[in-house]
Subunit: 452 residues, 2 copies
């Protein structure tokens, strides 16, 4: 084993989790990581907070630097090195050193593709104007901050009402900008049912974001090379800064060009051990496919938690051990100023597409005992299978302390618990933390046929 | 069904949950509730916060008044009525109207005993002095507040380092008193392992509470009928107010005198439908036995959550439906100023008593991403069965946001999940809520053999 050379493409969560795991199991293995950006192991999720001024600088988002990987872990982490081609037959990758633009071929015995995902950035009229940014890498976050420092924009438009769009809307509000948000759906947060998404839309309006719902981006206006407006199918919004938060797509062009089988949304198809269709080639993280435990279908999600888990599983297997990644239940959480939003499992539209019959209940409760200072509102929606009562999905919107309750529902869904079993759960209670029936249980009781 | 008369003894969580459930199912049933205190459906758990001045007045702790039960639910809730004898043969109870001290016999077709638990209050030298209080009913909390208003005590001693003792210590510190706490164990919070209890002891010292550990109460000193000191096996502590927080015992003297079978710690033995050994007699709440899903043994716990659940189950059955109470996993949570403490499952001592072999891991992590403002420390300890890896217990001590994570562990224990399954859980992550690996998963990874 120790004579083999492991090459990892991509030096963020999945790639470095895997590399670290292999190093831990096999102190002598040669491990080389090629990362095209200047950074390793950073928190992409932290960028909105860095731009909001809540985090001192981008370096705070870096968990482990290339130097640290080299010196402490004996992992040859080469940043500013872009892999441009896979040669599966000869077991080698072509690498460009971005510093001098020189290419070389690097051999591997095992290859892990952890190329992540990139922000979707449609080519539209004037989309090359300065001041229009997608956000995916730490470098892209730094570019936004530098642009803001240089241009002092006062009006921003965020395109897309998903997690990154909403977190960036908050960040820009915090920095004193006037912020508009364009979303083609009827509500923001399209991973919630519209009735729950409406609560998030209200929250955004309350913090001063102007919402343009049911409206689609068609292009931009620019002046002197700088963006000056966002054009939708209904109007033109003045803008000195634009954040495009239309989601991400897996970075899988390299893999596709090499003939590796792709799956859901263009992600790399993997088996539970994170092996691709090509012998000796593994994939993990935002570029790799996942599996949804509720729909029982292939699924793609770009999230640090999943990337870390898949990387860890790949690492154990690459080190000669055995591990499998069982899949996800679609959990996500976000904070928009004082509002918290979370979801897990499937939403109504997804259940309908699967042909599953379900019942739902939505309740409003408090995050703490009603008489305890700081008790805030929390709305919980549950979806359960008709007949079996099996929990299929949960959504939460509320104030401080609301969102992390989604983890109970994610755990219950994973365990295939019924709504009755959720009512029966021995959840913690004290007045500073919860009403005597935790709100997730109040929702479950409602679903069962009404609380007293 | 509707011709029957249901008599409920005890008008707090269990009794009124049951009565409300029966009313919901059967609008015509005659329902009479006898409650010896002046209050119904109050939050006993809220008393420390009312005494701390965080809650405006005791009436805020009352969820539903006797008037409301009578008028809105047509439940004949008679407060200041004490049941003094059960006559199972003639299906009647002897009731004393405390207003005029007159007794009468009241017939029943079905009887629910929901007499709760009372604070353990040892008879010791001078224990009848004014200023020494146990806490169980709302009335007892009001007496403490009235005493404080009248006597303006400056030095308080809390005897017992369990939940109520610690919450009262905080309450008294908040009210500006100098507080000492006497605990006969080596650490406070004896429902945690000593290593985790030590963190809570440290937290108490940090908020200014003087701790006297490994020390037992032997009596009191008094002057002019007022308490003046607490005597332990090692010293006398000056005290103008004493809170005795030595736990509670089930109020089951009535049931025992009537020959109803008792179980764990003197609680009333019930089957899963909450039926006692006597035909037509049911029990629920702090006076009734429970079942521990991990030890698989009868168990007694006095908690509002359990009382509500048992009351609800009893109510469904009393109304002619079918429901069972599956049991508990021993979850509890508390807040002591800024510190949060939680536990679920079994602790080391309990596992040893059961002869279970286990492994444990304790980790220190953060409540949010390390770079996010307000990230505080959190310590998580997990206990898992040797061989199977099944989670058997969890304990958490930490700052804001720490404790409610215990619910994930309570859910996982209920579902008989292994430590590997906890690592695999799709828990929510965003920087304001968690590190990328939730601390409970970091602890699980540690237990599996180390994180990277």
């Amino acid at each position: 084993m120790t004579q083999q050379r492991l090459v990892v493409i991509g030096g963020d969560a999945a790639g470095m989790s895997a590399a670290s795991k292999v190093r831990r199991e096999d102190p002598a293995r040669e491990i080389v990581v090629f990362e095209r950006s200047p950074h390793t192991s950073y928190s992409a999720c932290g960028m909105p907070y860095f731009i909001a001024g809540l985090v001192d600088g981008p370096e705070k988002l870096v968990a482990r630097s290339p130097q640290k990987f080299r010196e402490k872990y004996n992992i040859d982490a080469r940043t500013d090195h872009e892999v441009t081609e896979l040669d599966l037959t000869k077991q080698r990758v072509r690498v460009r050193n971005l510093a001098d633009a020189k290419d070389s071929w690097e051999p591997y015995d095992q290859l892990l593709i952890a190329t992540g995902a990139e922000a979707i950035f449609p080519k539209l009229a004037n989309s090359d104007a300065d001041g229009i940014f997608g956000l995916s890498t730490l470098a892209s976050g730094i570019r936004v901050q530098q642009f803001m420092d240089r241009q002092l924009p006062r009006r921003a438009v965020v395109v897309g009402g998903g997690y990154i769009g909403l977190e960036m809307a908050e960040a820009l509000v915090r920095q004193g900008l006037q912020v508009s948000l364009v979303e083609r759906g009827e509500q923001v947060m399209g991973t919630l049912d519209p009735d729950m998404g409406a609560l998030v839309s209200d929250a955004l309006r309350e913090i001063g974001v102007e919402l343009y719902l049911n409206e689609s981006l068609t292009g931009y206006e620019s002046a002197n090379g700088l963006v000056s407006g966002v054009v939708t199918d209904q109007r033109t919004l003045p803008a000195e800064l634009v954040i495009v938060g239309l989601g991400t797509r897996p970075n899988t062009a390299l893999a596709a060009a090499a003939g590796i089988t792709l799956g859901e949304k263009g992600s790399i198809r993997v088996n539970p051990r994170m092996q691709t269709s090509a012998p000796g080639v593994w994939a993990a993280g935002d570029c790799a496919e996942s599996f949804h435990l509720v729909s029982r279908r292939p699924f793609h999600v770009a999230l640090g938690t999943v990337a870390n888990k898949q990387g860890s599983v790949a690492g154990i297997n690459l080190a000669g051990g055995y591990a499998t990644f069982p899949g996800v239940v679609g959990t996500a959480v976000s904070k928009i100023c004082k509002y918290e939003v979370a979801r897990t499992g499937l939403m109504e539209r997804e259940l309908q597409q699967l042909g599953l019959l379900y019942r739902s209940a939505t309740i409003k409760s408090k995050t703490r005992a009603g008489y305890y200072p700081g008790a805030g509102w929390i709305t919980v929606k549950l979806l359960a299978e008709q007949g079996t009562g099996r929990l299929l999905g949960g959504q939460i919107v509320g104030l401080e302390g609301a969102a992390k309750r989604i983890d109970v529902l994610a755990t219950a869904i994973t365990a295939a618990m019924t709504v009755q079993q959720i009512v029966d759960l021995d959840l913690s209670y004290a007045p500073p933390f919860s009403p005597v029936w935790d709100p997730v249980q109040t929702a479950a009781r409602q679903l069962l046929g009404g609380s007293d």
